[in-house]
Symmetry: C2
């Protein structure tokens, strides 16, 4: 399988379990960083060790260039955006959220750690908004109407707890002309934490290609 | 200065330049991870080296517990949320965004790297939504009306370019009863990329304290 998504390893080295291991330990370090009591000496040593690793990766990491997502028939939703900052398996910014599509609707689960905190004990409202944008987008692609976000409205109903099992839901409500209307919810158990209402704009795929080539990216073959 | 914000090093080791160095190299590794062409062998070695560091931090990183943000008179806006996933200097999830308050309005600048990509060459719409939630929140606190997000509506006007200098703006439009109305914009040069309209709900600070203590957190002294 060829994974591009505007990122990613080249054809010689497709992303695999090693990149997954690298991403997993980065997530662990990110979460440690926001609540460690390590001494300045230990932190300095840790930073120095990480700088050595970054220095090793530097010569084998080409300058970033955008490329076009490779969607194909029968693709699993978790493969839509493997490098996404929201749900990407290979992006350490993304919290561990898993998604599947059942009867045309997106069902997701996740448990967000310390680094995603906003109000005390709760997931940051911005993280919630970001997850909705992504999950509504996955619902659109799953329904064959992948589109750009036009307007996204998030309504926060109750606190979204940190370090708790959350469930996500998203589905397309309808398509009218170039507009796709999509909704989503986040629950903690039976409690509704937040809901989203999005209007997405269908964009011709050729515009994506033109845009990407203008920005210096290439098509994966 | 005591920095709490629901996270952070203990009083013996307040966050400083060492944690900033640690966070900076984590950001570098996160961005490398999404577009490196490193071989599986190199990635495995890199992951192993990072696991050693995570193992060293483990015994000096207490279990996460929520605590209450310590706002004080004359505080700079970048100190409101030092561990925030959106603009936190000490949270590697946060892109490098700097903010200041001029005449009661929040002005920010930032340049987002590969890990924040959504559409080819563009900042992820979810990241944009997340930044707005945070920056509108900073505007509220700066105006003395810090509040919880009720409804946040983002309108995407044009693509927000990656690896380009962006400017952020947010200000409170008015307060009516317990509702705070706040707006924001993101520009790339003179071009409007996205705008936000938020309704925030004023919450009694004592509810924060109660909530935090219920969740097992403590007040910083």
């Amino acid at each position: 399988m060829s994974v591009v998504d505007g990122h990613g390893a080249d054809a010689t080295h497709p992303p695999g379990s090693e990149l997954e291991r690298f991403t997993a330990v980065l997530r662990r370090l990110i979460n440690q960083g926001v609540h460690t009591s390590a001494s300045p000496q230990l932190l300095d040593g840790a930073a120095a060790a990480l700088e050595v690793v970054a220095g090793q990766l530097e010569p084998v990491t080409p300058p970033w260039a955008p490329s076009v997502p490779a969607f194909y028939e029968g693709m699993k939703p978790e493969d839509f955006f493997p490098f996404s900052p929201m749900i990407g398996r290979y992006n350490a910014l993304a919290p561990p959220v898993t998604v599947e599509v059942v009867d045309g609707a997106v069902h997701g689960t996740g448990n967000l750690d310390a680094a995603y905190e906003g109000p005390p004990g709760c997931v940051h409202g911005g993280v919630i908004a970001a997850l909705f944008d992504e999950l509504l987008g996955v619902a659109n692609i799953s329904a064959g109407v992948g589109a750009m976000t036009g307007t996204l409205t998030i309504t926060y109903r109750s606190p979204t707890p940190l370090q708790s099992d959350l469930t996500f839901y998203a589905k397309v409500l309808g398509v009218e002309g170039r507009k796709v209307r999509t909704m989503g919810t986040i629950h903690a158990g039976d409690r509704l934490c937040a809901e989203a209402d999005g209007i997405f704009i269908l964009v011709d795929h050729s515009r994506f290609l033109t845009h990407t080539e203008t920005r210096g990216g290439g098509r994966d073959s």
